[in-house]
């Protein structure tokens, strides 16, 4: 991958220091404009965002108030950090946030990975021309597979993270329920972040995960400005350190103006939405509808050290659970407008996902 090559631009001052420590920090990768990426824990999301979450950026996830899809993102993000031995802070409004660590997914064993590659080989015969876009990136993804095991793992959502990943790690779990304001947590964060300062050669990359910031269980949930100023100071702290903060919040629980302000504060902004179970219209419109668990939209991609906006090919992606195990994101494929018989297209549309035999004939 390009990230492993030494850079020869005039901005290479920091890279020499970084590349010497690179073996100790497999979870990091160089990005454009002198930024570094760490993985979101979802290979497809990394690809969409152009490499992952930029170090020093604040990522906001807008929740669907009725579905826990943001937890999928958080879990993978945290697991990936633990796999890379990166320090982690997790805060939520639950009484016992440490319990959440038990639900983190385990990286997939390489054996499964092979079978997945094998499977796509088998399915080559099933390709249909109008889905050609899906196959553009395939060669890249396969050549990346060797590097990927280092930078971004595939996670098996059914298996809990193995115990040895937790040992000897810095994991702070904070419950926001008891604290009356965010000041103590902010101090937590700043002491945490002071251990991963920007200017030292030792780049490790810390992770901060905050679940449901504005949830009504917290005492401070009606103090909009306090939360905003917390997010703002967190942002400025994170910017000056080698860490990424992921905050999820439910926009429906707060006022529009407040939610907009939070969205402006975010460097990377993503929203997740569940899809209704039996939405016949949507099922007709999109292929592979049966396998989708939700939709993910990317609203903003972090623009650090540059003014050029990132224009993505698509902003909305379907979240699918492949073999009920690993989370994948796919471009939405619109079924061809063919009123007479859409079924055959729909069943072939899921050829890269897990097509349940016969399941496609539901409608």
């Amino acid at each position: 991958m390009a990230a492993n090559k030494p850079r020869t631009t005039s901005f290479s001052r920091n890279f020499s220091a970084a590349s010497s420590t690179a073996p100790q920090a497999p979870g990091l990768k160089h990005g454009p404009n002198g930024t570094m990426f760490l993985s979101s824990g979802i290979p497809d999301l990394d690809k969409i965002l152009g490499g992952g979450f930029a170090l020093g950026s604040l990522v906001m996830v807008m929740e669907d108030p009725e579905a826990p899809h943001h937890m999928l993102l958080l879990r993978n993000f945290m697991s990936q950090g633990l796999v890379h031995h990166q320090p982690l802070i997790y805060a939520s409004s639950a009484k016992d946030p440490r319990g959440f660590l038990g639900t983190l997914p385990n990286p997939m064993v390489p054996k499964d990975d092979k079978s997945r590659v094998h499977e796509t080989e088998q399915e080559k015969g099933l390709r249909i021309a109008w889905q050609y876009k899906k196959y553009f990136g395939e060669h890249n993804s396969e050549s990346q597979r060797d590097g990927k095991s280092e930078y971004c793992s595939d996670f098996d959502l059914r298996k809990p993270l193995e115990r040895h990943f937790f040992s000897g790690q810095r994991i702070d779990c904070v419950s926001l329920k008891e604290s009356a304001d965010l000041a103590t947590f902010q101090e937590n964060c700043s002491s945490f972040l002071s251990q991963t300062p920007r200017d030292t050669g030792n780049i490790a990359g810390g992770r901060i995960a905050i679940q449901s910031l504005c949830s009504p269980q917290c005492e401070f949930s009606n103090k909009d400005w306090e939360m905003l100023s917390f997010v703002r100071s967190l942002k400025s702290l994170v910017r000056l350190s080698n860490a990424v903060a992921v905050i999820t919040f439910a926009p429906s629980l707060v006022s529009t103006a407040f939610s907009k302000r939070l969205q402006h504060l975010a460097d990377t902004l993503v929203s997740v939405k569940a899809i209704p179970d039996e939405d016949k219209e949507l099922a007709k419109l999109l292929t592979g509808y049966q396998d989708m668990v939700g939709l993910l939209s990317v609203h903003k991609v972090a623009r650090i050290n540059t003014q050029v906006p990132a224009i993505l090919e698509a902003t909305t992606f379907s979240m699918k659970l492949q073999k009920r195990r690993s989370l994948i994101l796919e471009c939405l494929n619109q079924a061809p407008v063919d009123g007479s018989n859409g079924t055959s297209y729909a069943s072939s549309g899921s050829c890269s996902g897990s097509s349940k035999t016969g399941g496609a004939l539901d409608f």
Binding site: R232, S233, S236, R239, A257, K260, H299, P309, T315
Partner: protein, 265 residues
């Protein structure tokens, strides 16, 4: 010829059509420019453009930059790609960069209220302005604020405090001929029935630059549209009129392309 800045549609819209001198500061004679953007399309590039114009070798402006949004390194990298070295300008005393990401924390530690912080901040600006004016060559001064909505967060939601601060800055314009460039996000206020701060800013501003995404969605070659409403254009008869320009833009690392809708092949 070679060292004349190429004028863009944005410059023309700011200065009025056919303005002869582009080398002067974008906000000459104590003008106030307000840039409004939204979540979908950031207006930061307009601020970068104006900053670059202020610091161009043709003008003798001094810039006081109040950054609430990004650290210095970010602007330094961005402007360097545009051909303007902020570190050198800072050493030449043409740029005074106030990194509010740091100052804010300093203020908090000492248990200051946000009002104290703002008063101290204004004091710094005023001092800078007076120092500049004490030189024999009166250098025009531009104050740039990026961005006002974060200032409100620092003021703990007291928009009156922010307004006071902005009024003080504005009065500097009247007193010393400084100009003021501010960035704000207008979608934040879209649901308030009386967005006092935004209305006040729009009233004070001589030029309002609105940055919006295309109504038709994202495109790779058109990043959005700009609406520049210029209140201060005087035609020959001595009347001033409101002039609105509307065009599309595409942001690149080194520059921004501006063009009229549909005129790009």
């Amino acid at each position: 010829m070679a060292n004349a800045l190429p004028s863009t549609l944005l410059d023309e819209a700011l200065d009025g059509k056919g303005a002869a001198v582009f080398s002067t500061s974008p906000a000459a004679d104590g003008r106030m420019i307000l840039v409004e953007d939204c979540v979908e399309t950031s207006g930061a590039f307009v601020v970068h453009h104006l900053l670059k114009r202020c610091l161009s070798p043709h003008s003798s402006d001094v810039v006081v930059f109040l950054s609430f949004a990004h650290p210095f390194s970010h602007y330094d990298r961005v402007l360097r790609k545009m051909g303007c070295n902020l570190s050198v300008q800072r050493d030449n005393k043409r740029l005074m960069f106030l990194d509010m990401l740091m100052v804010e924390r300093l203020g908090r530690d000492r248990g200051k209220t946000s009002e104290d912080v703002f008063i101290a901040l204004y004091g710094e600006i005023q001092k800078a302005v007076e120092v500049c004016l004490s030189h024999e060559v009166g250098q025009p001064i531009t104050v740039i604020i990026d961005d006002v909505s974060l200032m409100e967060v620092d003021a703990n939601g007291s928009s009156n405090l922010v307004l006071d601060f902005l009024h003080y800055c504005y009065s500097l314009a009247a007193q010393f001929g400084c100009s003021l460039i501010t960035l704000n996000h207008d979608d934040v206020y879209s649901n308030e029935d009386r967005p006092g701060l935004l209305l006040q800013l729009e009233y004070l501003a001589d030029v309002v630059i609105k940055v919006e995404p295309l109504a038709t969605g994202l495109a790779t070659d058109v990043h959005g549209q700009l609406t520049v409403s210029n209140k201060g254009i005087h035609d020959g008869s001595g009347k001033s009129r409101n002039k609105v320009h509307n065009f599309h833009f595409r942001i690149k690392d080194s520059s921004v392309e501006y063009f009229y809708p549909g005129s790009k092949t």
